[in-house]
């Protein structure tokens, strides 16, 4: 379509990586101005990601040739490092930019102590840069490095408040993350030993099913499942996400776990695709159902607002596992999974930000004692409710469209003659009810009769950003066609 777009894409990709790294480095060496660098930088990064996505769509390539690959320093694979952009990474880059921008603006109000600013912004910018690089890497070892960048900055942010709970949560998070990374690295090493290449595209072309590939698949998947908090490797999530500062929780639940899940998806659609068997799919699906039930049950009895939200992440990620057997019946369903992950991330981030505002106002986040604050802070409760509706999968939200697609895929397996499909459909539909239960626990006290107390004053950023992000999560309901189209531009995917 557009003549200039394909030529400019490689430049734009390297530019984005350079820009996000430059911001992180700049904030590190110049901490006094870190919040300004971060605030303005967030806007610039978001603008460049949106420009990049416009270029990507304007280039209008055929699905087979849609991936843009950039060899860093002119060194081609297998020796050099490749950056790799396709529909899948583009979609998640946009998600990261939107959540990242919201988190940055929110943090302008949330982190106000001058010394804490100097610590917070460099860490957050490193995390963001790590995520961008993770999504753009096409090389297994480089993925390991970016995973480490993301984990280490995320752990530091979890420990940020310095309380016993936070440091202990961060410690657990760190151990689990290093374990996951090492397991992933071991898999990478095995693949490298077998095929002598690290580039994912080259690996995919060379993979045949052998014991080494199986071993590598187990190690890498297990490592990433630990990082993505996929059931039953999720125990670290609630302590870490629950005790981190609100913007950090939003990023962890919205983006970091999604990033790990992205890698799992990428690997199983690429090099490991031949290893997926129906029995394996059913096993993963059953884990998903267990995650959904267990996570929701914990969220229904947790006493603290942020714990509820954190457990809801475990539950919602159950859908991603349930989608696995659906993908075996209908390979196209992977797009549904990505769309679900995107709308979940938007909604979850906005719920966490709203929870942060309420916690700030109340000075605690014990649900039982929050009534007065909830009654007085209608705007934040509205954001919480709107994003909650998306989590429940009710209209007019992105969650509804995602739930529609999931149900469609689930019913498709029944129509294809799979009896266990009934279980998937019941789980997908019933999960919405469980979500309604825990969302209601957070929102309903606002409707009780009782005193009102707005609590501590809240900066305008903290007041409005959760609402804005919730509106975006709802508006994602109209982005279904565009997202699915972007995702079809992923070569190698079904």
């Amino acid at each position: 379509m557009n003549e200039a777009a394909p030529a400019m894409l490689p430049l734009a990709i390297s530019g984005l990586v350079a820009l996000s790294l430059a911001l992180a480095i700049l904030a590190t060496v110049w901490p006094r101005q870190a919040h300004r660098i971060g605030g303005y930088g967030a806007v610039v990064v978001t603008a460049s990601v949106l420009t990049l996505s416009a270029l990507f769509l304007a280039a209008g390539p055929e699905p087979e040739s849609a991936a843009t690959r950039v060899a860093l320093g002119g060194w081609e694979a297998p020796l050099g490092l490749m950056l790799h952009l396709d529909g899948l990474s583009m979609t998640l880059l946009v998600l990261t930019a939107v959540v990242g921008l919201a988190t940055s603006l929110y943090s302008l109000g949330y982190v106000h102590d001058p010394i804490e600013r100097r610590q917070f912004w460099p860490l957050w910018l490193w995390l963001w840069a790590g995520l961008n690089m993770l999504l753009l890497s096409g090389d297994a070892f480089n993925l390991y490095i970016t995973l480490e960048v993301v984990s280490l900055s995320a752990v530091a942010l979890v420990a940020f408040t310095g309380t016993a709970a936070a440091v202990s949560g961060a410690m657990r998070y760190l151990l689990v993350n290093i374990l996951g990374s090492l397991s992933f690295l071991m898999g990478v090493v095995l693949l490298f030993g077998e095929h002598g290449v690290l580039d994912l595209v080259l690996l995919e072309a060379r993979t045949e099913i052998g014991p080494t590939e199986r071993m590598a698949a187990v190690l890498m998947t297990a490592g990433l499942m630990v990082k993505a908090a996929l059931f039953p490797l999720h125990v670290w999530l609630a302590p870490a996400h629950g005790s981190a500062p609100a913007p950090v929780s939003a990023v962890l639940s919205g983006l970091v776990v999604t990033g790990s899940f992205y890698l799992i998806l990428r690997l199983w659609m690429g090099p490991f695709a031949p290893l997926a068997t129906p029995a394996f799919g059913i096993l993963v699906g059953l884990l998903g159902v267990a995650a959904l039930v267990w996570g929701s049950a914990q969220a229904l009895r947790a006493g603290r607002l942020k714990s509820i939200v954190a457990y809801s992440t475990v539950a919602q990620f159950g859908y991603l596992l349930i989608a696995f057997p659906l993908m075996l019946v209908d390979p196209e369903a992977w797009k549904v999974v990505v769309f679900f992950a995107v709308v979940h991330a938007l909604a979850k981030a906005s719920v966490f930000l709203a929870a942060g505002t309420l916690q700030h106002a109340a000075g605690h986040d014990r649900v039982a004692e929050m009534g007065a604050i909830l009654r007085a802070r209608g705007r934040t409760v509205f954001a919480l409710g709107l994003a909650g509706v998306s989590l429940m999968g009710l209209p007019f939200t992105g969650g509804f469209i995602a739930k529609y697609l999931l149900l469609e895929a689930g019913l498709g397996t029944i129509l294809a003659g799979s009896l266990i499909g009934v279980l998937w459909v019941v789980a997908i539909a019933g999960g919405g009810l469980l979500a309604a239960g825990y969302v209601l626990r957070m929102v309903a006290p606002a409707f009780h009769h009782g005193p009102r107390d707005a609590g501590e004053a809240v900066s305008p950023w903290m007041d409005w950003v959760p609402l804005g992000l919730a509106v975006v999560a709802a508006a994602a309901g109209f982005a279904g066609t565009l997202t699915l189209h972007t995702l079809t531009l992923t070569p190698g995917a079904p």
């Binding site: 529609y404 309903a444 066609t481």
Partner: protein, 507 residues
């Protein structure tokens, strides 16, 4: 397809826009809020009037945006949608005036009117939906928008009722959701067509269609309060009177009934529904609901509870008429959509006036109220007689056509149900009327309203009285002028003529 699609969008926005604005309005901005409320509902009335004329001329109105590949969000206006949309818009306007009076001085009105407007937007959205997906979207939105209204008082009882309401409606919503996705997989995301679009599948996917029909009926049946899915309705009576009025007359139960009408008429089509034996099953469920609701209504002394059970019973007339699946039955059912709406809202307004003015909640306290509040009592009498189906009131027109429809469809036993239900109606509606006019009050009235906001010029606050009298007059005229053009009966006949392609058909 013409630019008329924007008219549909404007109709939706006329309540959605003010609704969202009201949310963010400070509590004390009484004037602006009232302006937004009345402006929105007035605009909607005008726009719907315009649309009504267009549809009468035979213009097509259509608006669609793609939601997903192959699945569109479709707004369309046919004669049936206009029936429901007009009813909603008229009653919304009246109820808004009533609610402003009713809630005067009470807290959190911004929130209340915000959700109130969302609720009506969802209802009109249901009316104007062009396919099942769009209908589902607005249907679920209605669930979400009514919950805050049900729990508005914030008392433990209200919250319990709200939880029960959500449990029922969300679960049924999920059943409906699953059914619609399944149906879309089988038949595609078709628009509503008179006569249905499943004809080709009736032979190949018979079992699937039967299961789907049951799922769809469960989905819509909860809101339409079909027995045994009705228990939420009497408990949801804790809501403020205007909310109960709106829930019962227009929004929630009617949305359920309207969904059933759409499924039977425009998705399955009367023919397929008959062939698969689905219509007969629905007739039985509707008949049971009619009798059960009436019997339960007899057993309660609480006025609003009695009205609630009466709703359970009366809404099933609509379902019954549609399930009879012949032109006369459908006329009876559809016209009752309107008649039950205006009659029931009259009764609820009256109950609200009694409660608000004199603190009366029970039928046994009604003795002699006719002397203290004659106009309200008159309205109540009109409503009650209309519900019983006394000629020439609105309810009679319904029952007449339903009876003819039953004969036409060879369901003779339905006549017996209609007669029994008429007697039961009389048995539970006449006692309050008799007490009100003929009973004697020994102790002085507890002047609830006067104590709180000073003396009133009329028997109660004018914003409570006038809407009541207005809807009472409507329910009288609906029956008296049933033969006039543009009366509900005339419009319904037009729908049936168009749907059943019987030009010049007259019952």
């Amino acid at each position: 397809m013409n630019d008329g699609g924007w008219l549909l969008l404007a109709i939706l926005m006329s309540s959605l826009g003010p609704g969202l604005a009201i949310f963010f309005l400070p509590e004390r901005r009484y004037g602006l809020r009232t302006l937004l409320n009345l402006g929105g509902s007035g605009t909607k009335l005008l726009l719907i009037g315009w649309l009504l004329l267009g549809v009468l001329r035979g213009d097509e109105y259509h608006f669609s945006v793609p939601l997903l590949p192959g699945i569109d969000f479709v707004l369309a206006a046919d004669a049936l949608s206009l029936l429901f949309a007009t009813l909603s818009a008229v009653l919304w306007f009246v109820t808004t005036v009533y609610a402003i009076g009713y809630l005067e001085g009470s807290p959190r009105r911004s929130r209340f009117f915000g959700f109130f407007s969302l609720c009506i937007s969802a209802t009109v959205g249901i009316a104007l939906s062009g396919n099942l997906i769009t209908l589902l979207i607005f249907y679920e939105l209605l669930t979400l928008a009514t919950w805050p209204l049900v729990v508005h008082r914030g008392t433990p009882a209200a919250l319990r009722a709200g939880r029960l309401y959500l449990a029922y409606t969300l679960t049924s919503g999920l059943v409906l959701f699953t059914a619609i996705v399944w149906l879309t997989l089988l038949a595609g995301a078709e628009s509503f067509v008179p006569g249905g679009y499943l004809g080709d599948l009736a032979t190949t996917h018979e079992t699937a269609l039967k299961v789907l029909f049951v799922m769809l009926m469960i989905g819509f049946g909860v809101k339409a309060a079909l027995v045994p899915l009705h228990s939420w309705l009497p408990i949801a009576m804790v809501a403020p009177a205007p909310v109960s009025a709106l829930l019962h007359a227009v929004a929630v139960v009617k949305a359920g009934a309207f969904g059933i009408v759409r499924v039977v008429n425009d998705v399955y089509g009367a023919e397929v529904a008959m062939e698969l034996g689905l219509a007969a099953g629905l007739v039985v469920v509707a008949a049971i609901t009619i009798l059960y609701g009436s019997i339960q209504a007899l057993r309660t002394d609480d006025l609003k509870q009695r009205l609630a059970f009466s709703t359970v019973s009366q809404v099933s007339y609509i379902v019954l008429g549609v399930a009879l699946a012949g032109p006369l039955g459908v006329i009876g059912g559809l016209v009752h959509l309107v008649h039950q709406g205006i009659t029931k809202i009259t009764l609820f307004f009256c109950a609200g006036n009694f409660a608000e003015t004199l603190g009366i909640h029970k039928i046994s306290e009604l003795d002699g109220v006719g002397r203290r509040m004659p106009l309200t009592m008159l309205a109540f009498t009109l409503g009650a007689l209309g519900m019983i189906g006394l000629p020439p009131l609105a309810g009679f027109v319904t029952k007449w056509h339903l009876g003819l429809g039953a004969l036409e469809a060879q369901f003779h036993w339905v006549l017996a149900v209609l007669v029994a239900s008429g007697l039961l109606n009389a048995a539970y509606f006449l006692p309050p009327v008799i007490r009100g006019w003929l009973g004697e009050r020994r102790t002085p009235w507890h002047e609830h309203l006067v104590e709180h906001s000073g003396p009133t010029r009329f028997e109660t606050h004018w914003m409570l009285l006038f809407p009541t009298l207005f809807v009472a007059a409507l329910s009288l005229l609906g029956g008296l002028l049933a033969g006039m053009s543009l009366s509900p009966l005339d419009w319904v006949t037009l729908i049936v003529e168009r749907d059943y392609s019987i030009p010049g058909f007259a019952p």
